[in-house]
Amino acid sequence: MKFVFKPVLFAVTAAILASGVSAADSEPFSFLPAAQRPAPGTPDFNGKWAMAAPIRVLKTADGKEPPLLPAAKAKYAANQAALKANPKSDPNANCWIQGVPRITYAPYPMLISQDKDRVNLVYETNHTFRIASLHRPLPKWDDALDPHWLGYSAAHWDGKTLVIDTIGQNDKTWLDYSGLPHSEKLRVQERYTLDGPDRINGELTLTDPETFSQPWSTRFTLVRQPGYDLKENVCVRDHKM
């Protein structure tokens, strides 16, 4: 790369100095352009995070099997048998986009980019992202939704808790590594609450009238990864490169 120095060198130098580290950088949201900063006092989830402990088998908060309806229980058993016969039975092993909430507890770190209008969740696993709007509501249940792998998400604040609701996922993904199924009627609510600057208490509520007899909840913890640099992670089925 050949650099061409122009008479604007002084302006460039001044701009570089102005963009350098300053005391203001320790203020919450100082990395955001001024117009994108949330109101003072808004919890700041920005940064890199990873699960404190991996989740392989999703269970309720008190460690029980989710309240599966009979047909879903049979499907769960069939998925488990298929997985035992062939590990590639897991949709995840075929590089399909992982659904919500499983993508959160994939064994890879994630990056949260939060401004006043939205929360961008960037997952290292297969370089996937989802966007939860803070200023637009979820589409209505009766909209002709085209089911998506990650569904449709919208976020809102419940006090200091960031709440993300997700609907409209297809039924091709599993909820965990053991084959826990769901239908297109699944509604996921993720609740994220800061516990000090470097921990997030996460709570999940899953509602799916075609899979579960009642809504149920579970918990997990995310831990800040300040020194981690997100890597390029690529999963392509039967690739030829």
Binding site: M1, K2, V8, A11, V12, A15, I16, S19, G20, F31, L32, P33, A34, A35, Q36, N46, G47, N94, C95, W96, I97, L111, I112, S113, D115, D117, R118, N120, V122, N126, H127, T128, F129, I131, S133, R136, L138, P139, D143, L145, H148, W149, L150, Y152, S153, A154, G168, D229, L230, K231, E232, V234, V236, R237, H239, K240, M241
Partner: protein, 296 residues
């Protein structure tokens, strides 16, 4: 008149640069004509030179009005929002209309692929197999992008195949053990209101356009700047300098203008970027049963 407009914008606190409109009635250069001929192959309705230039310019008055119902943030360093290259623009033509300065070997390989495609071969590459597109190939795609900010980082979220560009703004060079990757390792800094992004550590598995390749020595420098068009709308303009001594005789620069697309913000449930699952629709590889696929 334009000077008055600039003064008015400066007075209003807006320092977004203003550029003249590119003519759509000029004569094409030989390299541009060759590119138009390539673009027109297989099209039911071939584009005229005027249509081709108009698309590259980024829409007419009526389109721009509908694309930008609300303006982008006034802060010239705030790129937050959606931007889209109309119709895509996947070629290496330089701003002055000249073709890329290929080495003789690269020129020959590029022409072989163009000729093979003209004879009916279906080309496949990293992007069509759902690998990340590479840089700058990713910036030539016709799908919307969203700029976002995180501590020490600027993100470019691409609708196409959920590509994510991560630009590190901490001023540190790439660590010594940085692996080669499809999108490389990007380091950015501000020069005035221009975001300058330098990317290296690429693998050699992505094409630069549809037909031309690069090696692991590739270095790409992107200079992003918001500019007001003469129609009063906003483009995110990027000058992309490609430097790869194994494939080009000298560094060269291509230009892309992404119109601001605030009209897309209200797209159902996603603030404008729709889910793009390449994995589900791996078309070019599926078409390989005719035996004419070329793996680059």
């Amino acid at each position: 008149m334009r000077r008055l407009l600039v003064l008015a914008l400066v007075a209003a606190g807006l320092t977004t640069a203003v550029v003249a409109q590119e003519s759509t009635t000029r004569k094409l250069t030989p390299a541009e004509q060759a590119q138009l001929d390539t673009d027109n192959k297989g099209r039911a309705t071939p584009m005229t030179a005027e249509q081709w230039l108009a698309r590259r310019r980024g829409g007419d008055q009526a389109q721009r009005k509908s694309w930008e119902p609300t303006p982008p943030p006034a802060d010239p360093r705030d790129f937050t929002g959606l931007w889209q290259l109309p119709g895509g623009n996947i070629n290496l033509l330089q701003e002055n209309g000249e073709g890329a300065p290929f080495t003789p070997e690269e020129a020959k390989k590029t022409q072989q692929l163009i000729d093979a495609e003209a004879q009916g071969a279906v080309l496949t590459d990293a992007a069509s197999q759902c690998f990340p597109h590479g840089v700058p190939r990713l910036s030539f795609a016709p799908y919307p992008i969203r700029f976002a900010y995180a501590p020490g980082l600027i993100l470019i979220l691409h609708e196409v195949a959920h590509n994510v560009r991560i630009i590190r703004m901490d001023g540190k060079p790439a660590p010594k053990d940085t692996p080669q990757s499809f999108l490389g390792y990007s380091v950015g800094h501000w020069e005035g209101n221009t975001l300058v992004v330098e990317t290296s550590h690429f693998n050699d598995k992505t094409p630069l356009d549809f037909h031309s390749s690069h090696g692991t020595k590739l270095k790409v420098t992107e200079r992003f700047e918001k500019q007001k068009t003469s129609m009063g709308y906003t483009d995110l303009v990027v000058h992309i300098t490609i430097d790869d001594p194994d494939h080009f005789t000298k560094p060269f620069t291509v230009l892309r203008r992404w119109p601001y697309r605030s009209d897309m913000e209200a797209t159902l449930g996603s603030d404008g970027l729709q889910e793009y699952s390449c994995e589900e629709n791996n078309r070019n590889v599926e078409m390989s049963s005719d035996g004419k696929v070329i793996i680059k």
